[in-house]
Symmetry: C2
Subunit: 349 residues, 2 copies
Amino acid sequence: MISEIADPREAVATIFNAAVAASAIGSAWELGLLDEVQSKKEVDLEEFCLRNDLDLPSMQMLVTALEITDILVRESGERSAVIPGRLLEETIITKSLFHWLMIGSAGLFSRIPHVIRNANRAGTFFTRDPIAISEACKDINEQHFEKFFWQAMSGLDQQVSCVVDLGSGSGERLVQILEKHPAATGIGIDISLEAVQQAEFDTSNRGFGERLSFVEGDARDMHYQDEFASVSLITSFMFGHDLWRRDSSDPRKNCIASLRKIREAFPNAQRFLLGDTTRVLNCPESEFGVTGKSVPAFPLAFELGHDLMGECRIPTMEEWIDVFPDAGWRLRKRHLVQSSYLSVIFELE
Amino acid sequence: MISEIADPREAVATIFNAAVAASAIGSAWELGLLDEVQSKKEVDLEEFCLRNDLDLPSMQMLVTALEITDILVRESGERSAVIPGRLLEETIITKSLFHWLMIGSAGLFSRIPHVIRNANRAGTFFTRDPIAISEACKDINEQHFEKFFWQAMSGLDQQVSCVVDLGSGSGERLVQILEKHPAATGIGIDISLEAVQQAEFDTSNRGFGERLSFVEGDARDMHYQDEFASVSLITSFMFGHDLWRRDSSDPRKNCIASLRKIREAFPNAQRFLLGDTTRVLNCPESEFGVTGKSVPAFPLAFELGHDLMGECRIPTMEEWIDVFPDAGWRLRKRHLVQSSYLSVIFELE
């Protein structure tokens, strides 16, 4: 952490340059540079700029930002030859977290002085880039949840027949489930009509036909429909915290109410795999609370971001576990998701 | 620098959390928290939020971002009592650099993947927040240039009579000069009509009357006017790099042409104090070039930002010195501005 840098001027310069590098990481990923350096082991920057029609002086400086932070290295003497730095591997794992922060959520974090004033916190008081956020979340899911999700899936003592995914986003998870389980059907539910339409479009040529459908709906307020009768498995990833709605009522009560509605809307669901990132900051009472010296990438932005947006309050692991009995769910198993930061998959029944 | 943090996961987490902290620094300055902690030595965060009508959960997390980076400290046991951290002093000096980067320039740095594509680099391809930028620049001037500016002024072997300030912005420098020199008159020239009108408005009640005026004009393309005849001193701060216009012609040639025009527009100017920040990155040929391990706060963002905007090419110290003879100016003295990063004030005649 920053405390390892003794000289104050150097420490503050490190913070500053890291912030520039954070933008550079998100950008270099989107531009394809990070993946290309990783796979080819050496990229000629001038050729890369020509091929992708990019401004070379800006790219040179972007690489300098990544060089200062040990992510990329310029081969000595060869200003244009870029090779992996010692942090490239870990940066590839976390690149989408940086993209989420610096590109998708810039409209939020760059307007903190406005957003944080109570007088402004009504109506549309911030904007984020939904396409960038969705791209980042796809990779966050892949880098951090995927492996643990399939472990949890393979541990289920049930046939995968009809799956509903709450907060289905791009629909990618359902696609993968249906590919692995040729007899299964899937329903994606998302609050964003655009996401639903995009998912329908993106999956339309995958040959699933009537096995896969997407519905616009608020998973915080589910109601039974006939087509839900056959649902035997519920999944939900990077969405559960939205159930802890922060309004005039208590977030905990809101979560319990939503979980109860989910229980009632899918009366024949045998399992609910609920994967999410829990609060770890400013909660010394939690077993998983972290402090200054050991804060991993993401929680700081994830928790501050949601506090700023004000729509929900990210719960701790213990707060989650505490609501299940009151919400009509039994916790069968807790799969800890140990990637560069901590998440969890609750297996409920 | 980041290289001092051995563990890759911890190093990347440090980069990530520093980026969040960078937003928090700019925001905490704008909200008045940094100055209050510095002056009062202890601030009750709950009281601060009540008094300023701010969202407390968000402020708690904002302080956590500053705590993780050693800028603020929570008194043990007292979650609400915030005191200075070991980096607060250096952060106060550099706060406006962070504000410039994370708040004023967010529209640029968060859109790098768009801005860097040649196909998009025409018309209005980025936006910045001009009010935020101008607020930041006022403090950058105060923290970094002010002391050295007055040293250079006091070393002038001439009476300060009629001063023109190129890129006059808020007009604050002229106000200070006129306050110190009661017989002097001042003319501010700025390319932004809004800045000119704002400066006129802000200085209208300072009692300078006809001693102070502001004119909309492009300092890169000055032409003689009768009221310029009496100008004996030219000043220009944080603006000179704009003379190095990056267009179909060579930036160096553009700068020489602009400096010549300035010489001709103010034929009786005895001195020109030109203060600016020079290029230090990716220029091993420069005496002042810095590399990975010793890059201070600001140059990375300043140089990348201007490369992205594409309007000018930040010159090195040597490139500046090289143009003066061809542009009709003689370098009398070079005042190095050694604050947390390097700038320079050229004293020309």
